[in-house]
Symmetry: C2
Subunit: 115 residues, 2 copies
C-alpha cells in the first residue's frame, strides 16, 4: 500500500483497580476542570455531562482510592465549591504521564505498519 495512505495505530488507555476501570481520559479531564473552576457542577456543564454523572465519577474514585480525589461542600455563597486534593493531583499527573508514553508508543509503532 502506498506510503501516503493514512494507516495508523490508535487505542484507549485507562487505570483499573481490582479489574474495573478507575481512571481514564474523561475522569482526568473532569478533575482538571474541577481544579480550574472549583465546581463539580461547572466542570460537568463544560463537559456536557450531568451533575449526577460527574458526581458519581468523583465518588467512585473517592471511595475506591485510599484518599479522596475531590473534597466538596454543598451550599454556601454561590453554591458549593470543590477542591482537588493532593491525591487528585497525583491521579492527574500520573495518568497524563502514562498517556503521553502511550501516545509515543502509538506514534512509534504506527511507523512500522506495512499493510
Amino acid at each position: 500500500m502506498s506510503e501516503d495512505t493514512a494507516l495508523k495505530l490508535n487505542g484507549k488507555l485507562w487505570i483499573e483497580l481490582n479489574g474495573s476501570k478507575l481512571v481514564g481520559p474523561g475522569r482526568v479531564e473532569l478533575l482538571e476542570r474541577i481544579r480550574d473552576c472549583g465546581s463539580i457542577r461547572q466542570a460537568a456543564l463544560q463537559m456536557n455531562m450531568s451533575y449526577r454523572q460527574a458526581w458519581q465519577m468523583i465518588e467512585d474514585m473517592n471511595t475506591r482510592l485510599d484518599a479522596p480525589v475531590v473534597i466538596s461542600q454543598r451550599g454556601g455563597k454561590g453554591g458549593g465549591n470543590a477542591v482537588v486534593t493532593e491525591k487528585g493531583e497525583m491521579v492527574i499527573v500520573e495518568f497524563k504521564s502514562f498517556y503521553k508514553k502511550f501516545q509515543q508508543f502509538l506514534s512509534k509503532q504506527s511507523g512500522s505498519i506495512n499493510l
Copy 2:
C-alpha cells in the same frame, strides 16, 4: 496504597485507515477462525456473531485494503468456503505483533503506578 492492591493499566488497540477503525482484536480473531475452519459462517457462529456482521467486517477490510483479506465462494458441496489470503495473513501477523508489544507496554507501565 498498599503494594498488593490490584492497580493496573489496561487498554484497547486497533489499526485505523484514514481515521476510521480497520483492524482490531475481534477482526483478527475472525480471520484466524476463518483460516482454521474455512468458513465465514462457521467462524461467525463460533464468535456468537451473525453471518451478516462477519461478512461486513471482512468486506470492509477487503474493500479498504489494496488486496482482499478473504476470498469466499458461495454454494457448492457443503456450502461456500472461504480462504484467508496472503494479505489476510499479513493483517493477522502484524496486528498480533503490535498487540504483543502493547501488552508488554501495559505490563511494564503498570509496575510504576503509585496511587
